[in-house]
Amino acid sequence: MKLDFKVDKKTLIVRVSGELDLLVADEFRQEVDALMEKNCTDNIVLNLGGVRFIDSSGLGGILGRYKKVTMRGGKLAIVTAPVQVKRILEMSGILSIAGLYESENEALQAM
């Protein structure tokens, strides 16, 4: 797994690539939380375009960030997940609470 990020006002844009599973779930959690902290952001736009694999442990990391952000009054949006990843996101119900957008710009406008 690899994370790239960008800050747009109060929103942290995180671009995830690689595999999101048990092996990297903690790292994902810690890195995203640290980036939120450091950049004083309220919202997350999570770009999953580069994710080649996700399972329930990876999903758990995303849902955990969703909970944390919304508890503090922020928002989390998901951008461009590959078909397989999208299928898993749908089954978990996360897409009915966090929005799925086609591009980072679209997601930013919804923040």
């Binding site: 595999e19 599973d21 048990l22 092996l23 694999f53 399972d55 329930s56 442990s57 999903l59 758990g60 849902l63 955990g64 397989q84 898993i88 089954m91 978990s92």
Partner: protein
Amino acid sequence: MKITNQIKLSIISLPENLPLARVTVAAFAAQLDFTLDEIEDIRVAVSEAVSNSLIHGYENDPNRIVNIVCTIYGDVLEITVEDEGKGIVDIFKAMQPAYSTDPERMGLGFTFMQSFMDKVEVQSAVDEGTKVTMRKEPQKAVTALAEEN
């Protein structure tokens, strides 16, 4: 039915071996006529079962062993994932969607295994271990058979 092929992969209970378990099972599954989507399904199911052995069965103890056996019978792929960990008290409850004994987890492991494989069976005994048996047949094979009849 006759066994056409079989492999057994034994890994030390380190999360580092999880990607490798997926890769090995996927390479084995590719010997049947699965679509790429079906291979993806299998990768998720294996990932869930092995993750469960590491986290729940062995409670993250990195010095144990998880055994993964893959078998082809005719057109059917069977995968068993077995640990000698702490076992499951109530298998029926454990398999319910969103049920987890770990508040940090989503309780979707068994749900994903059941959604992505044709059949999932769990045998478990407390303090002895857990064995998950999953089967899947390429959808193409099933369709071809139906058309023949």
